[in-house]
């Protein structure tokens, strides 16, 4: 009997053929280095609200910077962050403490037929921000006076030195077309009613945002005709995509930064935008266990911050000496205490404290947990038992706020990290007397600190500002309620064929990227 059924060889051959068939289209399109000047980047999520007044921030600011006019932009002066006028203005001058004059560049036009960019657009854009989710950045704004089609004056209600740095350079400083906004109903979400910039914007939710060359743009041409921003939520996935050659630049985490720094692959570079995060371990000065300043100072001396930087952050972060971040006016060179377990034991003995047991609360992510465990070991070495309590973000961010319950009464130690803008004022605003029970969870007050806070806002002399903010950090440190830990960098890995441009807070500015 002749058999013509499935044979082993036949089956394997069919399987191989089917496999090859499935892979065939893949091979034909697996050339990843794209021709032409396309820049391939990562965004960590969809841009949900592009309206400067109601945005979340982050990559939404990146989109605004490509498509909307700004009066000022960040610049570097050596190691310090400063500002400079953008292409959109021919003049931007602080006439006195409360008046900023501007003149818009001639020939700027809005897309979709909304005509030239006018000073009245600036007035509309900034005055509407006072009723927005970002109104805090415009607290000091009184009004914008229009003095001509392209000229005007920003009038502040009180001197506010950081206005240009934190408001005009940042996302809330975007200018919108008044007419286009009226047609859009006064608010927009995922598409710009009108753009004026080198790129237009189009997004496919969940996949990518594409910036294409704006045909109406007459200003300086960017280095790339097209920018593709792929939505990649996870940093690790983005790192792999970079290694696969599918991205030209992406943010990296601490461990990858350490790996790249140690062994940089060929054709790859690292760019650090800024280090505008400050992390510390806080102590509740009102808690019975920590009321004695000598106990708090003992804890300051007992924590080995260098070990945290190595153990939890692979040596990739800058050691902190206060809340003012590197590159900002007022940054300190050193802290007023040092790692000294013997001194810690002495202080505890002086305070008559033994067998102290405290709870350290932290967000439950890898680096914070590692930091908490190192602190636990450090304090155990001086006789303090630490119970680490990891928390999800919901309860963590509420625990020190009086309006959210009574947890603040039980707070003892916690690891906290705040982000800030490139001006020292913002970092200090959370520790004034009126912030006790809001964000000042250490719960101390100091009239000198409050006075210096106001002086810092008003002062325009850089050296005087520096002295003010250094003194404010000394006051904080002298409460014994802070162990300064680190400033995490906003680090990017990139192909050496691409020059990265990023704001100090990490938002990329595609139009200022360079090639070659």
């Amino acid at each position: 009997m002749k058999q013509t059924g499935t044979t082993r060889r036949g089956f394997l051959g069919t399987t191989a053929a089917l496999g090859a068939l499935a892979l065939a289209p893949a091979w034909s399109t697996a050339a990843f280095a794209q021709a032409g000047s396309t820049l391939r980047l990562r965004i960590d999520g969809d841009n949900n609200v592009l309206d400067p007044g109601f945005m979340t921030g982050g990559t939404e600011i990146e989109a605004q910077k490509q498509c909307l006019p700004f009066l000022a932009q960040y610049a570097r002066d050596g190691e310090t962050f400063t500002w400079e006028p953008t292409y959109f203005v021919t003049r931007l001058e602080q006439r006195d403490a409360t008046h900023i004059d501007f003149e818009l560049t001639e020939g700027l036009t809005w897309s979709n037929g909304y005509g030239p960019v006018m000073a009245s657009d600036v007035k509309y854009s900034y005055e509407r921000m006072k009723d927005s989710d970002w109104s805090g950045y415009f607290d000091a704004l009184e009004r914008v006076d229009v003095t001509g089609d392209r000229t005007g004056t920003i009038v502040l209600s009180r001197p506010f030195a950081p206005f240009i740095m934190i408001t005009l350079c940042h996302g809330p400083g975007a200018v919108l077309s008044e007419k286009a906004m009226a047609d859009a109903g006064g608010k927009f979400t995922t598409s710009f009613p009108a753009v004026c910039g080198p790129y237009t914007y189009e997004a496919t939710p969940g996949q990518r945002a594409v910036f294409s060359a704006n045909p109406d743009w007459t200003g300086p041409q960017p280095a790339f005709d097209r920018v593709e921003c792929n939505v990649i939520t996870e940093v690790k996935a983005a790192e792999l995509a970079f290694e696969a050659g599918e991205l030209d630049c992406t943010e990296v985490g601490a461990d990858t930064l350490a790996r790249y720094t140690k062994d940089m692959p060929e054709g790859t570079g690292i760019a650090v935008a800024g280090e505008l995060q400050y992390m510390w371990m806080g102590m509740n000065t009102e808690h019975p266990k920590l009321q004695d300043i000598r106990v708090r100072q003992a804890i300051q001396h007992a924590v080995d911050v260098d070990t945290i930087l190595q153990g939890a952050y692979s040596g990739t972060t800058a050691k902190s000496h206060g809340i003012i971040c590197p590159g900002l006016t007022g940054q300190r060179d050193s802290a007023g205490y040092s790692y000294d377990p013997a001194r810690a034991r002495e202080l505890l003995a002086e305070a008559g404290v033994s067998g102290l047991e405290v709870t350290l609360r932290t967000l439950n992510n890898q680096e914070r947990m590692l930091s908490a465990q190192i602190i636990q070991a450090n304090l155990a070495a001086v006789g303090i038992t630490v119970n680490v309590l990891p928390l999800d973000s919901g309860p963590f961010w509420e625990m020190g706020q009086e309006s959210k319950g009574d947890t603040w009464k039980d707070l003892e130690l916690w690891i906290m990290r705040f982000g800030t803008t490139p001006d020292p004022y913002e970092a200090t605003q959370w520790f004034t007397s009126d912030q006790v029970g809001v964000w000042n969870w250490e719960r101390w007050t100091d009239p000198e600190f409050d006075r210096l806070y106001e002086e810092g806002i008003n002062e325009t002399d850089m050296q005087k500002r520096h002295d003010i903010y250094v003194r404010m950090q000394e006051i904080m440190e002298n409460t014994g309620a802070y162990v300064w830990i680190n400033h995490e960098p906003e680090a990017f890995v990139h192909s050496t064929s691409v020059g990265v441009n990023a704001a100090p807070s990490g938002e990329l500015n595609y139009r200022r990227f360079t090639q070659g």
Partner: protein, 314 residues
């Protein structure tokens, strides 16, 4: 058959109601104020008030539940917290990608797993049977997220044969197919093993039946005996497994979609959980659950259609 169908549909409706209840409770079971959790610690009072109004948080809980149920029944799953876009529209944009991935993953697993199981059963204790057994257990044991990472490292990062991220250019079928290969391979691999083991075990049982012996005795072609008689009966438990597998794969797609940065329901749920975007979480989980129930229902109906005894067992 109609009675059976009615009973299965009734059971499915009960499951959906329970899921809706659990999803709604989610908002209140998570510690902390829902508005602050969703909008972040520095949200302004105005933004919190807008959110509370949008989510009906100022209403009594029972009323919120009724509003949610009423809206869900009409296909209105609420609005995205951040963009104000309808959740239903957002889910519809992504669901095609997940379905394509699940069908591709299960498709290739069936294409390889079922014939492998048949061959292993036809020639028990042969080298092919042994190799299939080892490979099956091996593929079942490796979780799909690990396969995803290895596949990405080998085929995308090291060899650069296949793309690492995304779903391909819209409208370019070939590009979209190439972007489907690695994620489908990753989520389907363990199912090759499951299906091969299940088909082999069923086939061995069926091949020992009298009617198979009779068919052979009548001189029917072996291929006809295997595929025409034995497999038709042996496939029944496999259909249930495939039905469950589709459900399991919807879960597996979460990892694949995150690792390959591919749009889909899994990634949408993950992103929404990370952003505390509760309407999206609730809506996407509800739709994923609905899909799972539909597939299981379909497989049950298919089995009942094949095997009348099943209709009487419920």
């Amino acid at each position: 058959m109609l009675y059976y169908l009615a009973k299965r549909l009734g059971l499915s409706a009960v499951v959906v109601c329970l899921v809706v209840l659990v999803l709604f409770s989610l908002l209140y079971l998570i510690p902390g104020d829902p508005a602050t959790i969703a909008l972040g610690p520095r949200a302004t009072e105005e933004a919190i008030a807008r959110y509370a109004e949008k989510m009906h948080l100022d209403e009594p809980v029972w009323r919120q539940f009724l509003i949610y149920i009423g809206n869900a029944l009409t296909g209105d799953l609420g609005l995205d917290v951040f963009s104000d876009r309808p959740v239903t529209a957002i889910i519809m944009e992504r669901i095609g990608f997940t379905l394509a991935l699940v069908f591709a993953g299960m498709g290739w697993a069936m294409l390889i797993g079922i014939p492998l199981g048949c061959l292993a059963a036809v020639k028990p204790n042969s080298w092919l049977d042994r190799v299939t057994g080892v490979l099956s257990v091996g593929t079942i044991a490796v979780p799909s997220f690990l396969v995803s990472i290895w596949a990405l490292l080998i085929f995308a990062v090291h060899l650069r044969w296949l793309p690492a991220i995304g779903a391909g250019e819209p409208g370019d079928f070939s590009d979209q197919l190439s972007h489907l290969v690695l994620p489908a391979f990753a989520i389907g691999l363990s199912w090759v093993g499951y299906l091969a083991r299940m088909v082999r075990a069923s086939m061995l049982e069926v091949m020992g039946e009298n009617y198979i012996r009779s068919a052979r005795a009548f001189g029917l072609h072996p291929r006809r005996v295997i595929f025409g008689y034995a497999l038709r009966v042996a496939i029944l438990p496999t259909i249930t497994l495939i039905g469950m597998g589709f459900g399991g794969m919807i879960s597996s797609t979460v990892f694949a979609e995150i690792i390959f940065a591919r749009p889909g329901i899994g990634k949408l749920i993950f992103d929404a959980v990370m952003a505390r975007n509760f309407p999206i979480v609730q809506g996407a989980v509800l739709v994923a659950t609905g899909l799972y129930i539909l597939v299981v229902l379909f497989s049950d109906i298919l089995i009942a259609w094949f095997d009348p005894r099943v209709r009487e067992s419920l």
